[in-house]
Subunit: 338 residues, 2 copies
């Protein structure tokens, strides 16, 4: 491993919200050269990135709202923390790739975009290849939900079933995410939405598909569902700044199940909800097979480890072959000492 | 990943004790072609390997005691489950390598032989290179004590301290291992041996050195110690077929601590002892840094997972560059579906 892989690396911070601010601080710690910052909020545009990210220092880099202008000045990689779903993010990625910058993003569909957003994925793959750069995603999926599991399976002779459960704190990601999960609304309202509009397969599905692909197995069937989580007692949501009444939505459980042509069955449940005092982010996997095995991480601290995993992945992504590089195509994640 | 990587692979089973018998069954399951078996016990030599390994089938492969004769007939790899320490195992490895066979072994020093057995390691490295083959070790170290930890560290921004503890069941490995740990003897006898003869740095040290090397960090100091484990109540040892009296040795804790030039400090304690009813093999790691993280595996089933990790590693070792390939030089472990 090369120490100081960030030295001399020119990075654009694309998106300066909660996650982009954490990413900025980690990039500064690692010794990357931040050459541009892109934001859209009028309260941030024009201010110094160090100020917006609350670093306590000036970085000499103003937040700008013209992404193309920033990227056209040249960068090795853009760290994109803007939004979810490839349909939303494709124009942002196109600006980066079209200007010859690699992209690492927390956008969750890019973890394995080939089946839920195939047209966007193919178009971005072609654009990345024609510009000789790579688009890849990282986040909590990378270490906790894919690579720890594939590593554990290296000790297994025969897998029958792989079952994962994680819990993440809705209040860690601001009111937009809580609102997206219909936190504070009646369960009946949630069920009406499910019935009328459906619910996008999200994160759990892409994670599990990346895991199966990494193992060299092939999907025979995929099913996903989502259920409401409620509580019989009132609970305070810090992101919504309100008390949720008993029976109100405190979050959801997204589940995906994959059967493979080779036999092993995979399921993953992601419980995103408001926490009671003392609860922490968890990660629990169980292997049924020869032998049965299990793995548990408490205090997984997903908000922070999403950002730290993202930054640690940058040297891998710059070194990767051009194109869209889904998580199954990357090697093991690596600590980057500074 | 290629499915069926064992198809057409010619394997010699070198050592047909408890671990060699498990390895034989796994190799048969994976579809490898076993072309020879080597043992030394007069009770096993001449019998069919399937009989010796209690597979319930004949493999048409007699156990032979002339290793050179078996290896000179040609093999892609020898699976060597014979003994510990490179000083003991070097002649066995030389027969394999000299006959052009790769070697995968559970011999624990080969996990990272460069500092505790440098002369043996260099000689074997030269022999392997001149024959275009690879010598490497796997076992519980591979997945549980190195690769799960390096993977978890992929989510860490800054490491201060990495602390591991595992517990393994002395009774799983027969009377020789229990005797080696002075199980059933008075603590005073153990302490006399420590004082007069010392205690070899073993497993914990090589494991931790491989972990540090894999992270690209460099050692500034290493220290190891061993302490006795006793119990205030009597306990039965199945491997010794005896009750250990209160205060008698039930095992040891081997500890190694490494400080690095870059700052992070690593320590690992291996508690090998007789179990009380209901106790299982454990694996617990704690990261102090940003952020703090932890990882736990209960039921790690080290006797079996040592063998399953060993067999799953074979395709990697055949594909590796010639020479001695310590664990830090191998990529991530992989499940091999059959």
């Amino acid at each position: 491993m090369t120490l100081k892989p960030f030295s001399g690396m020119r990075v654009v911070v694309y998106g300066v919200g909660t996650m982009g601010a954490i990413a900025t601080r980690l990039l500064v710690d690692k010794g990357a050269e931040i050459v541009g910052a892109i934001g859209r909020s009028p309260s941030k545009v024009g201010r110094d990135l160090g100020d917006v990210a609350r670093l306590g220092i000036s970085l000499g880099i103003p937040v700008e709202n013209d992404a193309n202008a920033v990227l056209s000045r040249g960068a090795d990689i853009a760290v994109v923390c803007v939004g979810s779903y490839l349909s939303t993010m494709r124009p942002h990625f196109e600006i980066c790739l079209g200007n010859g910058a690699n992209v690492v993003t927390i956008e969750e569909e890019t973890i394995f975009p080939w089946t839920t957003a195939p047209d966007h994925a193919k178009a971005l793959d072609a654009l990345a290849k024609s510009n000789g750069v790579t688009l890849a995603a990282s986040g909590a999926q990378d270490v906790f939900w894919v690579n720890l599991v594939t590593t554990l399976l290296g000790a297994v002779h025969k897998v029958d079933r792989v079952t994962g459960h994680c819990r993440w704190n809705v209040d860690d990601y601001g009111p937009e995410v809580a609102d997206h999960l219909m936190v504070c609304q009646p369960k009946a309202a949630f069920e009406k939405v499910i019935t009328s509009d459906g619910w996008p397969e999200f994160v759990a599905r892409q994670t599990l598909e990346a895991l199966v692909a990494r193992l060299g197995l092939t999907v025979s069937a995929i099913s996903s569902d989502v259920t409401a989580v409620t509580l019989d007692e009132p609970i305070h949501s810090t992101s919504m700044s309100t008390d949720i009444p008993p029976g109100g939505m405190i979050g959801t459980v997204d589940r995906t199940r994959i059967t493979t042509n080779e036999g092993p069955v995979f399921s993953f449940a992601m419980e995103g909800r408001v926490y009671r005092p003392g609860e922490t982010d968890t990660n629990a996997w169980k292997i049924d097979g020869e032998p049965d095995l299990e793995l548990n991480c408490n205090n997984a601290n997903y908000r922070f480890t999403t950002c730290s995993s993202l930054i640690n992945r940058i040297p891998d992504i710059i070194a990767a072959a051009p194109g869209v590089c889904s998580l199954n195509m990357l090697g093991p994640p690596t600590y980057r000492h500074h």
